[in-house]
Homo-oligomer: 189 residues x 4
Amino acid sequence: MSNGEGRRSKRADARRNEKTLLDAAAAVFVTSGVEAPVRDIAAKAGVGMGTIYRHFPTRADLIVAVYRHQVDACAEAGPELLASSDSPYEALRRWIDLFVDFLVTKHGLAAVLQSDNAGFETLHTSFLDSLLPVCTRLLEAAAEAGEIRADLQAYEVMRGIGNLCIGADSDPRYDARRLVGVLIAGLRA
Amino acid sequence: MSNGEGRRSKRADARRNEKTLLDAAAAVFVTSGVEAPVRDIAAKAGVGMGTIYRHFPTRADLIVAVYRHQVDACAEAGPELLASSDSPYEALRRWIDLFVDFLVTKHGLAAVLQSDNAGFETLHTSFLDSLLPVCTRLLEAAAEAGEIRADLQAYEVMRGIGNLCIGADSDPRYDARRLVGVLIAGLRA
Amino acid sequence: MSNGEGRRSKRADARRNEKTLLDAAAAVFVTSGVEAPVRDIAAKAGVGMGTIYRHFPTRADLIVAVYRHQVDACAEAGPELLASSDSPYEALRRWIDLFVDFLVTKHGLAAVLQSDNAGFETLHTSFLDSLLPVCTRLLEAAAEAGEIRADLQAYEVMRGIGNLCIGADSDPRYDARRLVGVLIAGLRA
Amino acid sequence: MSNGEGRRSKRADARRNEKTLLDAAAAVFVTSGVEAPVRDIAAKAGVGMGTIYRHFPTRADLIVAVYRHQVDACAEAGPELLASSDSPYEALRRWIDLFVDFLVTKHGLAAVLQSDNAGFETLHTSFLDSLLPVCTRLLEAAAEAGEIRADLQAYEVMRGIGNLCIGADSDPRYDARRLVGVLIAGLRA
DNA sequence: CATGAATGAGATTTCATTCAT
DNA sequence: CATGAATGAAATCTCATTCAT
């Protein structure tokens, strides 16, 4: 085996390894929530705990990586929805649906997103960096079209939606989607 | 000292002590949240941990006791507001303001209120028992007056409001009161 | 009420009180064993825990008092059995039956009787003071009659019997009476 | 270092550590009994408490491991004694000597062996699984040879012996070996 | 003298994080 | 670079014993 190939295969290995890790973490997050013991995730991935820590020094790093694709997809959907919807408000509504669908299926994610625990600062920031501009854009468009009030920051709206999604999966009497619908209705001018 | 007085003075003592406990717990809850270690609360009160357990066997019992008065006051304010407000919707709005004021000043309370942890079941139940009938009454009045949609359960509304209050005290960019206002606006028919 | 009467009735009260205590302790010992929490005994007696401690400073004192009558009765039965039995060995056998009957019906008593815990020293001593002379007498009589070996101390025999009774009530596969029978059979010359 | 070696050396390390643990536990058991606090055992071994729990999730697991070798040796000695002794009864007697020697030197072991505490169920079972068949075999052989009565179960006999050994080490006036001798003598037909 | 509230040591158990192999 | 054993701080809860009322 040549050095070049060796190096390349190592990189490939590392990528595969990281993929395994993220899949395992995602699976454990579904059943045990995003605060599941590191040991459980490592076990699911079939690696040592040290490997998790090497790739993702903090839990926030791991969570960010696990949901990176879905968050990016959500961010990217914003402009498309704005272009394809009948109105900015409709685009906003549909985009928020996407965001809510994402959140309510992630056991415990909404909860850590608003956690004031210092360790989750990164997570908070990362999600907001991706989504806040999109949400801002949609809110501005709807506000400019006179469809909604103009005095609300995207940060507040997203945070509110995030909060409404907390614990949505463990209580059949509570329908986060419906309440978010009420909130969005409340934005109307 | 007669037996009667003796017994009474002991009870008075215990009551005084319980007051100390509740004050200490309230204080610790403010700084460390309602999930603060029992040891910390005991230390703050200047009592042994056993004393906490004697008075409040579970953490839920303690939290309920700490906030009992405020919850009751909130519950009692409902009918009064309904009688004194210009409209049922206005009464609802003002009552919810009270509820939100209560929640946002209780570090971590909103979070445990929606926790699916079995230990907090009592807490959950206790709060709902007091407040749900009041909220139901206000929602029905407003719905009957045609001011709001009639398809939302009080449970959902209260839970939504509770969720919006989570973490409200640790983030200056997030104003739970304002968002709850948006939610209430969204109830309009 | 005269002083004399007052004093006498107080003594009567104290006696009644102590009787209540012992009955309650006996009852709790039956269900929870002789190491039951002091609180439980006090509750059963309808008195404060301090009252228990006043009358019986150590647990051993309480246990001794609870079983005083039965131990005395057992001690007194010795000479009678010796007089009325066909042989000293037969008297010994029947006396040990009494002792075993006493022990196996006292949940946990046999266990604390051999405990090396300093607190139970009194208990140990008290029981032995009453019963050892009786047992010694019976063993000597049987030994002198040539029915059993003469090299065993009463202390050892009683302790052995006590040990064989440990846990006899919680295991249907173990019959302490039968094993004690084997032990007594083993004493034969 | 190859993977194979790396893995093997790690296991060797863990084994060494486990040995340290067992030695420490054995030492603490001698001085403080088999119910010594986990913290004490960890301290003696110079490890964290978590290490104990990792290797031996329950106290019963630890006790079983500490005495595994001796119990096995005792079990294995049974057939040998049967083959090498002058009579089955003699083999039984000598085997029971081994068992008693084992028990009386284990502070508190005999006591937990008959404890009805659920946590010690495993311990109880483990010991019986090893020793009961051996004892049964010896009793049957002696019974068939007409040397002892045939109506006693090995369980009862072992339990009785175990009981006789309780507290044997803390009382110079009590010689468990001698009393067990009496019990065994009592088995004679 | 009786009460029972209060004390607080002590035991168990979990899990994030480190680091020797 | 990976492993997972080890660490040990934290938190909970119990109950014998004391002592203010």
